[in-house]
């Protein structure tokens, strides 16, 4: 459902004839809220004379996922289907992926290990700041998708956990 230039003109022409001060319109999946001038439309920060400003607005539903632009075999594309019964652990931030608490120590998890949701499975380092990533699910580590020391992107799939059957 899209709102054309002419739609807007016609709507405004109709509303101008009315006594309304405030109007809420719903058509298709769009809700339009209109206020007649004179009412305080809310604080609008004046913006820089050069930079377009960030405009927070309600989120749009994800309208489809295309294939990633440069498939990188090490990436663990999150849009690839995963085996039934498994769940992916995705990176909550960009960073360098480390399998162990520190170099030389045993990895947090190996394939075949059982994990609970709060178990730390890896670290992500951003500029010397280390963040632990939790399993988020109960089950068994089925696959580790990223090499130790590799850069991972936000949202990249790191591991697969085979869920415990209820």
């Amino acid at each position: 459902m899209t709102l054309t230039h002419d739609d807007v003109r016609k709507i405004l022409a109709i509303l101008d004839e009315s006594d309304c001060e405030e109007v809420h319109l719903e058509f298709g999946d769009v809700r339009l809220h209109l206020h007649r001038h004179g009412g305080e439309p809310g604080l609008r920060g004046a913006r820089g004379a050069d930079e377009p400003a960030a405009r927070p607005s309600p989120e749009l539903a994800d309208e489809g996922r295309g294939a990633p632009t440069q498939p990188d075999p090490a990436r663990g594309d999150r849009t690839e289907p995963i085996p039934e019964g498994t769940v992916g652990i995705t990176a909550p931030m960009l960073g360098i992926f480390y399998r162990s608490p520190s170099p030389g120590e045993k990895p947090f998890v190996e394939v075949g290990d059982k994990v609970t949701p709060d178990d730390t499975v890896c670290l992500l380092e951003v500029m010397k700041l280390f963040n632990s990533v939790k399993a988020g699910a109960a089950g068994m580590v089925e696959e580790i998708l990223v090499e130790n020391g590799a850069l991972v992107e936000y949202g990249q799939r790191l591991m697969l956990i085979r869920r415990d059957s209820a």
Binding site: A46, T69, M127
Partner: protein, 457 residues
């Protein structure tokens, strides 16, 4: 060389194009909402640095530096907005062995604090808009009001352009404006300090493009007139300025070069001035230490690729031209096309683009990241495209812009194509009679309604 682009939208596409020309590999940062952006499609690689909100992606310095290092990049181009004028980010890049495509952190800081910039300009005898140091209390503002005269502006010292700004027309307005300007400045810049500046009633905004290399040479590329603004946002820019003759140009350029030289400016920057149309005096306003949105206007009249020049300078080359090589040929105009509905007080109108057929042809250039089917996300600015035209003179450039905008087809999102067309076709614009308040005063398309839209889940 491999360059990391820490920005999005049309400027990310622009930087990729410049890199292509120079044979440089590109890696572009993308947020989760920008996975299908044009820059991601044409760069050599795209790296997702965070979720949609800018604060968690394009403003996350550490993630950007990590991503740049992790993908083997040598340099970072910050574009405009976001971290482009953030001295801390510049230093973080340098500390991590990354070349920063822009000036030094010290030049950035000097010009980023608007009071410091005014003071520096004053020290080297640049004309500065009469104003004050920082004001901490409405009573001080009242006293300054008597001195400077009404109307005056309350401005944020950490601000840029028109953010955190209030026009004060009478003593009654002081208390309210002081409070709201402080609150806005605090929210936007985490710094509530204000200062006072005289408000020039009939003004034009004229800025000088400068570029310096690392060997001390600085060249100016003429002026841009950015007087068509709405709420301190630039809408239409042109070069040369209809109000500037060669003598005034020489004096403004001299002032701009002296300021840039004084702070040891390297790379591209813009010195902004207010031209008081009643006295034809010009006053230093501020300096922007980055490439600007409207840079194509200067590129069209000078034939210089400013973004390529930025990258060359960053990798240590000398400026590719001397001042004598710089000539302004013909006339160029740029219109910014935003995803907004002008009739509803320029309500933002993101969504999925259905039709997208920008104009093309001789003397027409379109800088955009949009394509049919592209979903304009709601998290960032509303800029869809810049339409730039060039002609042998101003009248022919205007005619070319009117024609270009008439042939621009866009649907699915709101767009300001028709609004821009109406402005450039207006006799006041053609006669060069506009001031920075013209759009809001003489050209109001106000319908008496404001609005906002939501999409139901």
């Amino acid at each position: 060389m491999r360059l990391f682009i820490a920005n999005r939208g049309e400027i990310a596409v622009r930087i990729v194009a410049a890199c292509r020309k120079l044979g440089i590999e590109t890696v572009v940062a993308i947020s989760d909402a920008d996975r299908h952006t044009r820059a991601a499609q044409i760069a050599d690689r795209a790296v997702c640095i965070g979720p949609a909100p800018a604060a968690e992606s394009y403003l996350k310095m550490e993630a950007i530096v990590s991503a740049a290092k992790g993908t083997g990049c040598d340099a970072v181009h910050p574009g405009y907005g976001f971290l482009a004028e953030n001295a801390k980010f510049q230093r973080l890049c340098i500390e991590n062995g990354l070349i920063f495509v822009g000036p030094s952190a010290s030049a950035m800081s000097a010009m980023g604090d608007k009071l410091a910039a005014r003071r520096i300009a004053g020290e080297i005898k640049l004309p500065v808009v009469p104003g004050s140091g920082q004001v901490d209390h409405p009573d001080k503002v009242r006293a300054l009001g008597r001195q400077i005269g009404y109307p005056f502006l309350l401005k944020a010292t950490a601000g840029g352009g028109g953010r955190g700004m209030r026009i004060v027309r009478s003593p009654d307005e002081i208390a309210g404006s002081f409070a709201s300007a402080r609150a806005e400045a605090q929210a936007a810049f985490d710094e509530p300090t204000l200062y006072v500046e005289r408000y020039i009633e009939r003004a034009r905004h004229v800025e000088i493009q400068v570029v310096g290399d690392a060997y001390g040479k600085i060249v100016h590329f003429g002026e841009r007139d950015c007087s068509i603004q709405r709420r301190h946002q630039k809408l239409i820019e042109e070069s040369p300025s209809p109000a500037v003759d060669s003598d005034l140009r020489a004096r403004m350029a001299d002032a701009a070069l002296r300021l840039a030289g004084h702070v040891g400016y390297v790379n591209a920057g813009t010195v902004e001035f207010m031209l008081d149309l009643d006295s034809m005096e010009f006053y230093f306003l501020e300096m922007n230490t980055r490439i600007q949105v409207e840079h194509p206007v200067t590129e069209m009249v000078t034939g210089i690729d400013l973004v390529a020049e930025q990258i060359r300078i960053a990798r240590g080359e000398a400026l590719s031209v001397s001042q004598d090589d710089v000539k302004l040929n013909g006339h160029a105009i740029e219109c910014r096309i935003n995803a907004e509905v002008p009739e509803l007080d320029f309500m933002p109108s993101p969504g999925k683009i259905v039709t997208w057929a920008p104009p093309s042809g001789s003397g027409i250039r379109v800088d955009t990241h949009c394509y049919p089917g592209y979903i304009v996300p709601p998290f960032y600015d509303s800029l869809l495209a810049k339409v730039i035209v060039h002609g042998p003179d101003r009248d022919s450039a205007i005619t070319r812009m009117v024609h270009a905008l008439d042939t621009f087809k866009a649907s699915g999102v709101g767009s300001t194509v028709r609004f821009n067309r109406a402005v450039v076709a207006h006799p006041d614009f053609r006669e060069g009679r506009v001031t920075t308040r013209w759009v809001e005063e003489s050209f109001s398309r106000g319908t008496g309604w404001t609005g906002r839209a939501e999409r139901q889940r």
